[in-house]
């Protein structure tokens, strides 16, 4: 009974000694980094390796946390309120606007300058999401383009050309259904995910139905144009019956699965479907093709919604180290490595790499073109917190589902949509 404490003490002393005399721990600085968990795991691994390497170079340690598109704002909301934002935050297209407006992001104009030296000039359309009041509050990382996936074989069977307009998509879907090939070929999910609000913006903008002017102030969606656009969305669900109502309840990967299970002929998505088909030697790979999203009467105004940007929140206690890590991740060597290992998911936003040989193939050209034609959330104005909220509150897709599910008229739905948007802009005025 008396030996136990003595033994314990000895063990404790030995351990303490060992710890004290052990190799001096090189990393005194511990950084936290939050990044998106993408649909392409190998790309994530490359990024993580780069991050860790960059940290080691300056004698720091990085703890990487991931989030998905779905729970990103749950995490960030909690962190904003509890003032526990990470040292380095990978933000989406609206994150910088929201956080900068709250004064929670550091000015990183110098960082952008450094990256520009290595990677070339920043694409003009990528500025809207990160540049406010002449200063940069985040460093653009990459963009995931949303392209139109379609089944080559089915289109051939009904003698159709790859669609250039939104109407064409609907028409071809009707043909496919009539030919008995698929019950619900039109796989556009107007749901509360990016697969929903990205095409929603592209659609409305291609009909000239933006809700702000060039300065970003509210003007409301022009009713006739918005109604025109909405009717294109609701026809497949209500009259053509080429879209199944279940598509409205899809989660982020629902349309991926449906396409790969051969149940839909059209669906908007990032390049991850190609990656998934390649890595599983999918039988439909040879029939899968991509095209740039359609045109409308007001032109091809695509939404650049899936942009990832590096922010350095002011909460962080190691601003200098955080900035060097970001600069290092965005160095030519590291970023090129990431880009070429991303299975065409990571489209660069700095000039030099956009023209890289990696994109010089059929699919690559479509992908790069999409990003080049992309417009920031809040177009034709800059990305503002109000615009951010319009997207995160799913006003646009709610408008569509009001017609499809609640059987409200398109006119009424557009009025409701405008009302909601106006209320948001009243609450979050644009300066």
């Amino acid at each position: 009974m008396r030996r136990a404490p003595v033994r314990m003490l000895t063990i404790v002393l030995i351990l303490a000694l060992a710890w004290a005399l052990g190799p001096a721990r090189a990393a005194d600085v511990k950084l936290t980094l939050w990044r998106l968990k993408t649909y392409i795991p190998p790309a994530d691994k490359i990024l993580d390796t780069s991050i860790q390497d960059c940290a080691k170079r300056i004698g720091a340690e990085v703890q990487i946390q991931t989030y998905t598109f779905d729970d990103m704002w749950t995490k960030y909301t909690a962190a904003i309120e509890s003032k526990t934002l990470p040292d380095i935050a990978e933000l989406d297209a609206v994150g910088p606007a929201r956080l900068a407006n709250l004064g929670r992001l550091s000015d990183v104009s110098d960082l952008v300058g450094i990256v520009t030296k290595e990677l070339g000039e920043l694409a003009q359309n990528a500025e809207g999401a990160v540049k406010f009041g002449g200063k940069f509050y985040a460093v653009p990382h990459y963009a995931i383009p949303l392209v139109l996936f379609y089944r080559k074989d089915l289109l051939e069977k009904v003698g159709a050309q790859p669609p250039e307009t939104w109407e064409a998509i609907n028409e071809i879907s009707v043909k496919i259904k009539k030919a008995g090939l698929l019950d619900y070929p039109q796989g556009f999910p107007w749901n509360r995910t990016g697969d929903g609000y990205d095409p929603a913006m592209s659609l409305l903008w291609s009909y000239g139905a933006a809700w702000v002017d060039k300065s970003g102030k509210y003007i409301g969606m022009p009713k006739d144009k918005a109604v025109q656009a909405v009717k294109l969305v609701t026809a497949p669900y209500l009259t053509d019956r080429t879209a199944a109502p279940d598509y409205l309840s899809w989660s982020g990967s629902g349309n991926n699965e449906a396409f790969m299970a051969g149940k839909v002929a059209f669906t908007p998505n990032g390049p991850s479907i190609i990656f998934q088909e390649d890595s599983t030697k999918h039988p439909l790979r040879k029939d899968t093709a991509i095209k740039i999203m359609p045109n409308g009467p007001a032109g091809r105004n695509l939404a650049l919604t899936f942009v990832m940007n590096w922010g350095v929140p002011v909460d962080g206690k190691h601003q200098k180290e955080a900035r060097s890590v970001v600069a290092c991740i965005m160095s030519k060597e590291k970023f090129t490595g990431y880009m070429t290992g991303s299975f065409q998911q990571a489209v660069p936003l700095f000039r030099n790499l956009i023209n890289h040989d990696y994109w010089n193939n059929a699919d690559g050209k479509v992908i790069v073109e999409t990003v080049k034609l992309g417009r920031p959330v809040g177009w034709p104005g800059p990305t503002t917190p109000a615009a951010a909220e319009v997207i995160s509150s799913n006003v646009l897709t709610d408008m569509m589902t009001r017609v499809i599910v609640d059987k409200v008229t398109p006119e009424k739905a557009v009025d409701e949509g405008n009302q909601r948007i106006k209320e948001i802009y009243d609450r979050l005025p644009v300066k």
């Binding site: 968990k37 649909y39 946390q65 991931t66 998905t68 598109f69 779905d70 729970d71 749950t74 995490k75 909690a78 962190a79 309120e81 509890s82 526990t84 989660s251 982020g252 990967s253 991926n256 699965e257 790969m260 299970a261 051969g262 991850s272 998934q276 599983t280």
Partner: protein, 272 residues
């Protein structure tokens, strides 16, 4: 005669109702991604594979989530049992002013649902500066466990004859000693039942774990499971394997101890 038919119908119906989804979980967990995607071998896995289970432990942090859930559930249970049994004893055996109202208060708080409290409770934790830790959950869970435990144990304690304690008291024991030596042992089935309830409710809790914890390393099972839904394709196989494994601990515990849970429900519901 019709009674037997009724019995048979109800029992069979319920058995099927319960068994089919459970079968679907297991069957899916043993299918390959390809099979699930292309709807091959819907009713029975063909080929049968363990790759989903292996994936869980090799590529995801499933084991870590298991550990976090276990730590949180066990700690919350022990704390809630301690607090709840103390309160239940005081409310049923001791006389003090305000006893009636306090008893009513405990029961009323039982009725405040977590679905309403997640934001204000989170703000409270922010104010005391303690978030993003398993400890946050361990403190938060008793808010819906303790009222229930108290209510359940009150019913149990009431069914233990006072005479036993009074005899001991007269023989010179203190109140605490009677609680410790007489009441608690006799209420063991009730404690066990309450403990199982606490464990189950903590193990399954989702909303608080989603909001209060940001750290990937501290993720619990339910949150980890829901992650599968959006971050991977052809995920149903792995997800169902995770679901099966996530349910296993609680199911095992219940297979052995369900009769205590039932008697717990009895005492609580009937006499509480």
């Amino acid at each position: 005669m019709s009674v037997r038919i009724f019995r048979w119908l109800v029992v069979t119906g319920l058995l099927l109702l319960v068994a089919l989804p459970l079968y679907w979980i297991l069957a899916t967990s043993f299918k390959t991604g390809r099979q699930i995607l292309m709807s091959e071998g819907v009713y029975f896995p063909r080929p049968f594979t363990l790759e989903n289970y292996l994936y869980l432990f090799e590529e995801t942090r499933f084991a870590l989530w298991l550990r976090n859930s276990a730590v949180t559930a066990i700690a919350s249970t022990l704390i809630s049992l301690a607090i709840g049994s103390a309160g239940a004893y005081a409310l049923t055996r001791l006389r003090f002013p305000g006893r009636r109202s306090f008893g009513a208060l405990v029961l009323i708080t039982y009725l405040v649902p977590p679905g309403l409290m997640f934001i204000p409770l989170y703000r409270t934790f922010i104010q005391i500066g303690y978030t993003n830790s398993l400890g946050t959950l361990i403190i938060a869970y008793p808010t819906f466990l303790v009222p229930f435990v108290t209510w359940l144990l009150m019913g149990f304690f009431r069914s233990i004859p006072r005479e036993l304690e009074e005899a001991a008291l007269v023989d010179g024991a203190t109140r605490l000693e009677t609680l410790y030596r007489i009441v608690l042992p006799l209420a063991a089935p009730g404690l066990l039942a309450a403990g199982l309830f606490c464990f189950t409710l903590s193990w399954n809790e989702f909303l608080y774990a989603l909001i209060f914890i940001a750290d990937d390393n501290l993720r619990t099972l339910p949150v980890g499971l829901s992650e599968f839904v959006v971050s991977d394709f052809a995920f149903w196989g792995q997800l169902m394997a995770a679901a099966a494994l996530a349910s296993l601990p609680v199911v095992l515990v219940y297979i052995y101890l369900h009769k205590y849970m039932v008697s717990g429900l009895t005492a609580g519901a009937v006499k509480g």
